[in-house]
Subunit: 227 residues, 2 copies
Amino acid sequence: MTTPAVTRVPQEERTRAMRQRLLEATVELLVEKGFSGTTTTLVSERAGVSRGAQLHHFPTKNDLVVAAVAHLTEIRGQELAAAAAQLPRGKKRTRAVVEMLGDHFASSVFTAALELWVAARTDPALLEAVGPLEERVGRETHRLTVQLLDVDESVAGVRELIQATLDLVRGLGLANTLGDDARRRHRILDEWARTLDESLGFEARSARTSTTGDARSARTSTTGRST
Amino acid sequence: MTTPAVTRVPQEERTRAMRQRLLEATVELLVEKGFSGTTTTLVSERAGVSRGAQLHHFPTKNDLVVAAVAHLTEIRGQELAAAAAQLPRGKKRTRAVVEMLGDHFASSVFTAALELWVAARTDPALLEAVGPLEERVGRETHRLTVQLLDVDESVAGVRELIQATLDLVRGLGLANTLGDDARRRHRILDEWARTLDESLGFEARSARTSTTGDARSARTSTTGRST
DNA sequence: AAACAAACAGTCATGCTTGACTGTTTGTGA
DNA sequence: TCACAAACAGTCAAGCATGACTGTTTGTTT
């Protein structure tokens, strides 16, 4: 019963721990050194694991990185779930959701994923592993966002706006990798959240009236679009 | 008079041509093989230039790539200017502008720039060259977009929406590198163009049911993007 | 306790990229 | 036409990442 076929049950505790350390070291190095800078030697050193031990678990660099992708996916899911759990309900929820997504895509987790993403573009073997995985994560994120915003996707246009939001934070995350500017990001997402609320039919949620009035329509005949 | 200091005037024609070929080969390889896959040997082979000739013009790989960045910037500017010249005026202009940006950020030019962008993140020498350049290009693109859309940036929120638009197309471009269809992009940008018009006070432009309440449910799935 | 199996550790050869070196061609001025 | 200088071409050694190989330790089962 407890011994299915082979005889290694308590040992795999060490195995798990070692793999864990290797994967975490890999992610760290991806952020610090980039993909090509993440050498297998550096990984083993960083993880405090011998070279042979590493090869034992991950025979090739691709194996290691592919496993890191999966590990990363796990982290991403946990992070998002944790952040989503403590979102405020009510009028400022849209903005909170958007900011949460923005922060997530500005984290080091995204940076590491970006490295893999870009590397996978020109590495068929990596693409085969990263592609489906990232697609799955994307769908999951989309679903989560729809759920968090509590919108009806069957309404035309809503799905596209959600996708736009996710692509926006992706773009912001990309911009964030070179020059960190959290203030810019927050300003943009703040405005985005307002626009989103308006377009989704949540005007009541975030009334922007006070700040600008109807100054938006300064150019094409003042249509006086108050709300 | 015609010989300032040294004696090479007609010869530099060849020089320019050779540099041009090298830079174009570099860009091509960046798209095909990625940054680390772009070896100096491959570049010289692709360009039909000898190894020594290449080293003569670009002593190190960094020099070559940095020059490629500048060359790329040139291309990006030309592409955008050319596309902007034949934009339709009138009601569908916003959508046309947005689509133009979307297409631009989905081109191979963006792909090559992305490789450099990501590589520069973990390469100080490269960052020093790419950072300011990309920032300048970003500002230029922003300015161009403002001009093309003919919006007043002094109005609160407008600047952020323009930035959001650019970050959105950047995110879409990133998604496009792995394998994202153009249809998705067009749907998203189409919807965003509408939203942008509404938020900028151009409702008259993109005739769409009014924005009050959740009028979106009124419009069903039709909404093709002709007309 | 002993034997067996798996996990772990260290070392080394292979292959590749880089850029430095030397020779050749092309263009310019006298 | 000759001399000089710059651009160009090809080759080669150094440095490094990779992963294959062999030996050692740890854990389990009888």
